[in-house]
């Protein structure tokens, strides 16, 4: 009886859980002296559970790839301190219930905590969802992050090289887990 109930609960929750391991996160810093861009292709895990409307994203900091590897080393070593804080997270709730079974394109927002560099802040992230047949959702969006909000120290000498606000964009295909 207990096992049967548990199985039922599991299947009902998991059928509404959508996962991705192909989430791509990019960031772009547009400062007067230097434009810096990086891409994270294989360091992200994320799921959305429509039963509870909860969203979870985990980003491996070492997964960010820069065209200039010295920059990548400094990003890990001095700015994000990935040896201390190897992951960035988002954990939140969808602001409104989402018609994830009706094909179409929808705007979606989630409110929750972003954790970067060990600092947690409440943010609202917005994006666009495209619902495709056979339990496939395509998500994309962008938001701005101020490095100083997350205690990422930028020396005064480098103010001209690193933007005050860094644009982060994300793109991923979520599949129903069943």
């Amino acid at each position: 009886m207990k096992r049967w109930l548990a199985t039922l609960c599991l299947t009902t929750t998991w059928a509404q859980r959508y996962e991705t391991d192909t989430l791509v996160i990019r960031f772009y810093s547009d400062a007067p002296l230097e434009k810096i861009a990086a891409e994270n292709k294989n360091g992200c895990r994320s799921w959305i559970d429509f039963a509870t409307d909860s969203v979870y994203v985990q980003v491996r900091i070492r997964g960010f790839s820069f065209p200039n590897k010295l920059m990548e080393e400094h990003f890990n070593e001095n700015y994000l301190e990935s040896d201390k804080y190897p992951y960035a997270y988002f954990r939140g709730k969808l602001v409104a219930p989402f018609p994830y079974t009706q094909p179409g394109t929808y705007a979606v927002s989630a409110r929750g905590m972003i954790e970067i560099h060990g600092v947690r802040r409440e943010e609202v992230l917005s994006g666009v969802y495209e619902v495709k047949p056979q339990g496939v959702l395509q998500l994309s969006g962008r938001f701005l992050v101020r490095p100083t909000d997350y205690k990422i120290k930028i020396p005064r000498l480098l103010w001209e090289k690193i933007a005050e606000e860094v644009e982060v964009s994300f793109y991923g295909i979520y599949r129903r887990r069943d």
Binding site: A37, E39, R62, N68, E73, D83, E115
Partner: protein
Amino acid sequence: MDRHRLSSVNPCTRIKTLSYRKVLLVLIWIKLDCCSFISIAWGQTLEERVPVLATFKGTRLYNFHTTEIPAAHHLEFRVAHRFGDLTQGYRNFFGIDAGATVRVSLGYSPLNWAEVGIERTGIGKWWNGYLKLRLLRQTEPGGIPISMTWITSAFVTEVQDSVRYPTFSDRWEYLHQLLIARKFSRSVSLLAGALVLHQNMALETSLPNTWGWALLGARLKLTSRLTVFAEGCLPLWKRSVLPSYRLPWSAGTEIETGGHVFQIGLTNAEGLSENRTLLTQRFLLRLGFNISRIFSFQGGPVYGP
């Protein structure tokens, strides 16, 4: 007795209470199931093994190589300056009046584990080329405990001295280095190495053509952009071979200014190229600095907005 009492209870109520407890249990279990993934993932531990970054800030500690090499398709341009003898004091402004001798280096990594380089040194007019191979790379958490790098350099001097170098082949010298380093913590990295120098024409008649040294180096990171370092070489020979020999050492600080690494140091080395730094005989102290800049030739799109 107990069993008897239970059985006397109305069976309907019993099932009711039990199912209620079961539902509660299942609810708690679901709640746990939803949260467990989050709670595990919120803990900041790395789930996979990655190479340790930045054991040293640059490819040289000061006079000698470290285990670091530039990433694939990156070019390092490096200029080392050494001023005159500091021990003469204010008379020549601590060596700065004597002007600086310069060593220019250019190194390119075609692969993530191999670098080729060419250098020109003012003191002794030495040209040298080197091949630097990364043999092992320290990983964390666990895995490979050390980084290991092999360097082979060939030196040739432009100096045409029929007494010192009777033939062209006498002007060649070769240096092989096996370096081992470990980053012990965020701030402490240690370096140890074995060096073998072969001179086609030995510097002194008492000196054999081939000799070995042990290299020791350390780096202490004070802030994210400032470190202090020290290095020294111990010859693996008897003192009588070269009585005037002085152990070459250097110490200083390095500052990283986003792209550049700037090293200011003090050394007792007579030469500036490794083959002459190792064979220091005169007592002197030199102030100096190294500048390094890395250029990326790695293709790839720049992701704009």
